[in-house]
């Protein structure tokens, strides 16, 4: 096919290309119109084939893979978010429960403390009353004992005074006078 354009051989910068092998003449290959038809036909076949492969198989395939990955990532993220929300809710519930339990415990503690306080207070009061009663009894007894002792002392003193008067004066003094004299001196 290339032999037909020897006409360009003589002109232009043919000199050095000529040495390379005669069959391509001097035409600059990209501008050699004799092979345009061949290139156009093969370009058309190759490009249409490529377009069909790309549009029918390759792009849907790769695009599908990318979409599937995207969906998977989004699904996983949503799932993770859901689980996180769940665990947050569980944590919140746990905290509320814990706070409730703490409040309950506090309440029970306070109640018990108050009850025990009240009980011990009552016991203390009862004990104090008992002790007070016992004290009063004891005081009364002491007082009685003392009064008794004092009245004994008076009798003894009156007797002693009567006896002393009898011994000294030889007369038995009047019991009443002795008693009043003893009383007066006891008082003094």
């Amino acid at each position: 096919m290339a032999e037909s354009h020897g006409e360009a051989k003589g002109q232009a910068a043919g000199a050095h290309t000529e040495a390379e092998g005669g069959h391509h003449g001097g035409t600059f290959p990209p501008f050699d119109s004799s092979n345009y038809a061949s290139q156009l036909v093969s370009l058309a076949i190759a490009f249409v084939a490529l377009y069909l492969i790309v549009s029918r198989i390759a792009l849907p395939r790769v695009g599908g893979t990318i979409d599937a990955r995207q969906n998977k990532i989004e699904g996983d993220l949503a799932e993770a978010q859901k689980l996180k929300d769940e665990s947050d809710a569980a944590l919140k519930a746990y905290e509320t429960e814990l706070a409730n339990a703490r409040a309950n415990a506090q309440a029970i503690g306070n109640e018990t403390r108050e009850k025990l306080n009240a009980a011990s207070e009552a016991e203390r009061k009862a004990l104090e009353e008992k002790l007070a009663a016992k004290l009063a009894d004891a005081e009364k007894q002491i007082a009685t004992t003392r009064t008794n002792a004092m009245s004994n002392v008076r009798g003894i003193a009156a007797d002693a005074a009567g006896t002393i008067v009898q011994q000294l004066a030889g007369v038995t003094p009047d019991a009443n006078a002795v008693n009043s004299a003893v009383d007066a001196s006891l008082k003094g």
Partner: protein, 249 residues
């Protein structure tokens, strides 16, 4: 030692397929590399796994998918996703074939203007027909920018129409010229190394270090350009399609 930086762009017919009119339709080295690109893309997109956690190959497939999808969404909006298969095909076809073309001894499809022009015209007519189909006559609003004073409107419209119809030219020549020039520069600098070595002997090999370093630097640049031009072609396609989707700008 003769260096021919143009030789790499030769179209070699591998076998003849048939005739259309007086044109011979041959399966050429260019055809071979077109099908290699299609095969590589198909392998990448179909052989990669579908795991939840992607492996390396699957990551590359998914990154290309997301990359093109993001580019379309940011330039043409979500309505532009209608053209996702088209733009993805264009981008991957150019990117893979350009990257394959940077490998020494391979052929670069987009170093031929006819190929880039065919793709640019495909985009051009897609924009034109989709724009007219979707918006009817409102599509012509793209030639009438809003907020322009009436007395310079004819001039602006003329420029807009001209630039619209020149789009396929700039669209295709940009890619073609970048690939062509880059590959020629690479070949020239790489050729210097061999030329110096074979003509000057030991001294030449030592002197060849400089062009070798340049070749390596250029090679890195060409790798970048191979990707970048495919990206530029794809993003321009998005921008042009955006005109068809949203004509009033």
């Amino acid at each position: 030692m003769k260096i021919d930086p143009i030789h790499q762009f030769n179209i070699e017919p591998l076998f003849t397929l048939g005739h259309i009119g007086n044109h011979t339709i041959a399966f050429t080295n260019s055809s071979l590399y077109m099908f290699i690109a299609v095969l590589l893309i198909a392998l990448l997109m179909l052989a990669s796994g579908r795991d939840l956690v992607p492996g390396r190959l699957q990551s590359v497939a998914e990154i290309s998918y997301e990359f093109v999808a993001t580019t379309i969404r940011s330039t043409a909006g979500s309505e532009g996703m209608k053209f996702f298969p088209l733009i993805f095909s264009i981008f991957m076809f150019l990117c893979v074939s350009n990257l394959v073309g940077v490998i020494p001894y391979t052929f670069t499809i987009s170093s031929h203007l006819i190929v880039t022009a065919a793709l640019a015209l495909l985009v051009f007519f897609t924009v034109l027909f989709y724009g007219l189909y979707k918006n009817g006559l409102k599509f012509f609003k793209i030639f009438v920018p809003s907020g322009v004073p009436i007395y310079i409107l004819p001039l602006v419209m003329f420029i807009e129409v001209l630039s619209f119809f020149l789009r396929p030219v700039s669209h295709s020549v940009r890619l073609f010229a970048n690939m062509l020039a880059g590959h020629i520069a690479l070949k020239v600098f790489a050729g210097f190394v061999a030329m110096l070595g074979f003509s000057l002997g030991a001294l030449g090999w030592v002197g060849g270090v400089l062009p070798l370093a340049l070749t390596i630097a250029l090679y890195a640049l060409e790798l970048l350009v191979a990707f970048l031009q495919a990206y530029v072609f794809a993003i321009l396609t998005c921008i042009y399609l955006n005109d068809a989707i949203h004509p009033g700008h």
